[in-house]
């Protein structure tokens, strides 16, 4: 077992444990901190898989900014205490069995369906693209060539989200 795969297993276990901790957490803040652990571990796994830029963006944007937004709302609404148990036994069993069914279906599809991976993007794998353009340029080249329309539409989406959030959360405009 190489050092990289050992790191992969450590952070995969952390990601899984964080997910379980989020679902089972008693207070919203504890759930949120477990989710931060999961997102950070996933960012490390991205880096181990060779996606350096995406891994860094994951840690900065997801584990940083979006989670601070959640924490801000939890603190704003003062949800830290008055815990009501919402984990009923029947609900636990039903939810867990449905989740196990989803998981079994996903894994079964992964192993039974004979899919062939068709390389796109001029036949370059991610490692070759990174070697040619660098970690950021490898993502930037297709984003500003083939997917530039989607990139511009993303800015419109963010504008709509800003306006929508202000309209929804403000008491009176």
């Amino acid at each position: 077992m190489t050092f990289y795969s050992l790191l992969w297993w450590v952070f995969a276990a952390l990601a899984f444990g964080g997910g379980i901790g989020m679902v089972a957490g008693r207070t919203p803040v504890a759930s949120l901190l477990s989710l931060v652990l999961t997102l950070f571990s996933t960012g490390v796994i991205f880096i181990l898989l060779g996606a350096h830029f995406i891994g860094v963006v994951q840690v900065i944007v997801y584990a940083g900014a979006i989670m601070v937004l959640f924490l801000f709302v939890i603190m704003l609404l003062n949800l830290g205490h008055d815990y009501q148990p919402d984990l009923r036994r029947a609900g636990w069993i039903a939810g867990a069995s449905v989740a196990c069914g989803v998981l079994a279906w996903l894994i079964m599809r992964t192993f039974t369906h004979e899919t062939t991976l068709v390389a796109s993007g001029g036949g370059m794998t991610a490692a070759q693209a990174v070697e040619q353009h660098g970690a950021v340029g490898a993502v930037a080249m297709p984003m500003f060539n083939e997917y530039v329309v989607g990139f511009e539409l993303t800015s419109l989406l963010l504008l709509a989200a800003i306006i929508g959030a202000i309209v929804l959360a403000k008491r009176r405009i």
């Binding site: 795969s5 992969w8 990601a15 899984f16 997910g19 379980i20 989020m22 679902v23 919203p28 759930s31 989710l35 999961t38 997102l39 796994i45 898989l49 060779g50 830029f53 995406i54 963006v57 997801y62 979006i66 937004l69 959640f70 709302v73 939890i74 609404l77 949800l79 919402d86 984990l87 609900g91 939810g95 867990a96 989740a99 196990c100 996903l106 894994i107 992964t110 991976l117 068709v118 390389a119 796109s120 993007g121 036949g123 794998t125 991610a126 490692a127 490898a138 993502v139 080249m141 083939e146 989607g150 993303t154 989406l157 963010l158 989200a161 929508g164 959030a165 202000i166 929804l168 959360a169």
Partner: protein, 97 residues
């Protein structure tokens, strides 16, 4: 590493599904949705090793959509909290009955 990553992605997605089904706190439901988006991102990145860099571009788009969704969803939760003084989904019955 590809197969293991896909299986981890499936496990994280299933944990997110379980959370959405089990919990009743609206903010924790949102967090579970974020976890599911993140699991999909993981499988995109794992497949981009073999298929091409486009998977990572899509991860970028998924992240922006998730950020927009979190902002609007939390605004909805704040406005519901202002109306009902709770974030428990069992108390949201305005459109249910």
């Amino acid at each position: 590493m590809l197969t293991e990553s896909l299986i981890l992605s499936g496990i994280l997605f299933a944990v997110g599904v379980a959370g959405v089904l089990i919990r009743r706190n609206a903010i924790i439901l949102f967090m579970c949705v974020e976890l599911m988006l993140n699991a999909v991102n993981l499988s995109f990145v794992a497949l981009s090793q073999e298929v091409g860099i486009e998977g990572q571009v899509f991860v970028f788009f998924v992240m922006t959509v998730a950020a927009a969704e979190a902002a609007v969803g939390l605004a909805i939760i704040i406005s519901i909290f202002r109306l009902m003084e709770t974030v428990d989904t069992k108390d949201f019955n305005l459109l249910r009955w």
